[in-house]
């Protein structure tokens, strides 16, 4: 099943906490239930996106790794 991504955020190269800060700002621009895809290279983001998803209630739908790039798909609450 392919996910219908509403928006992609490129946070590659950014360090903590900017991938989370930019995701929080970007997710506000998509409708509730919409999906946002975030690309990051910060290894700490793996734990951080899971924690952020639990704190905010925005569901972490998918998480993949491809050659040092972490990809997160989140559904807006």
């Amino acid at each position: 099943m392919t996910l219908q991504i509403t928006q992609t955020l490129d946070a590659r190269g950014l360090s903590c906490p900017m991938p989370i800060v930019k995701t929080a700002q970007a997710i506000k621009t998509i409708p509730s239930g919409g999906l946002i895809e975030v690309l990051a290279t910060d290894p700490g983001s793996v734990k951080d996106f899971a924690a952020w998803s639990r704190t905010t209630g925005n569901e972490l739908v998918e998480q993949t790794t491809d050659g040092g790039v972490f990809r997160f798909v989140l559904r807006r609450k």
Binding site: G13, L14, S15, C16, M18, T23, T55
Partner: protein, 198 residues
């Protein structure tokens, strides 16, 4: 064959007191109304920003902006040395008397002129920190402050420190809230889910 009439519920009750009460008052009826669930309270974080050092204001700004990004209400009570980084860029020497002026003469205010709490080495330390920051693409205090205010972090300057340092409201960045005192700090800290002194 006749079915015996039930005088009490079939489910055995382990609690002898409940059985005794039921014998006198009868068994309680099931609650007719379901209690409405209270909406979840927004989590709150309060940080007391006391230090104006680069290596301390950095975590203040990282944690406050991340809290706001996580839907946590974040208020930062800015006191003592913590106030100097919040002085407007165009201000250089602030204060009314010579002692107050000496403070900002010795320690240049503003978010771009921060010293390290250790290994400052006359500015060599912060310069190296800035170089490493760029090399590893870490957000600067200025970028983090912009993100924090954009995300709704509330910065509350301490009135007493402002008076003592000779700082006027217009000396501080516009994004700061109304000045307040210790009682406000205590109130917001005791109401918050977590509070930090940095």
């Amino acid at each position: 064959m006749t079915t015996p009439t039930l005088e009490r519920p079939i489910t055995p009750v382990a609690d002898p007191i409940a059985t005794a009460v039921a014998d006198v008052d009868g068994w309680p009826e099931a609650a007719s109304e379901t209690v409405a669930e209270a909406p979840a309270k927004t989590k709150e974080l309060v940080i007391v920003d006391w230090s104006g050092d680069l290596d301390k204001i950095w975590p203040v700004l990282i944690l406050s902006s991340t809290a706001a990004a996580s839907g946590v209400r974040c208020r930062v009570f800015v006191t003592f040395w913590g106030l100097l980084p919040f002085v407007k860029d165009e201000k250089r020497i602030v204060g009314e008397n010579w002692m107050q002026k000496m403070l900002t003469l010795m320690q240049r205010p503003g978010i771009d002129h921060l010293k390290l709490s250790k290994m400052n080495f006359l500015g060599m330390g912060p310069w190296m920190m800035g170089t490493l920051r760029k090399q590893y693409n870490v957000a600067s205090p200025r970028e983090l402050l912009e993100a924090a205010t954009a995300l709704g972090v509330e910065f509350i300057p301490c009135q007493m420190t402002m008076d003592m340092f000779g700082l006027k409201r217009e000396d501080l960045i516009d994004e700061m809230g109304e000045p307040a005192g210790a009682a406000t700090a205590i109130e917001i800290m005791t109401e918050a889910d977590a509070s930090l002194f940095i």
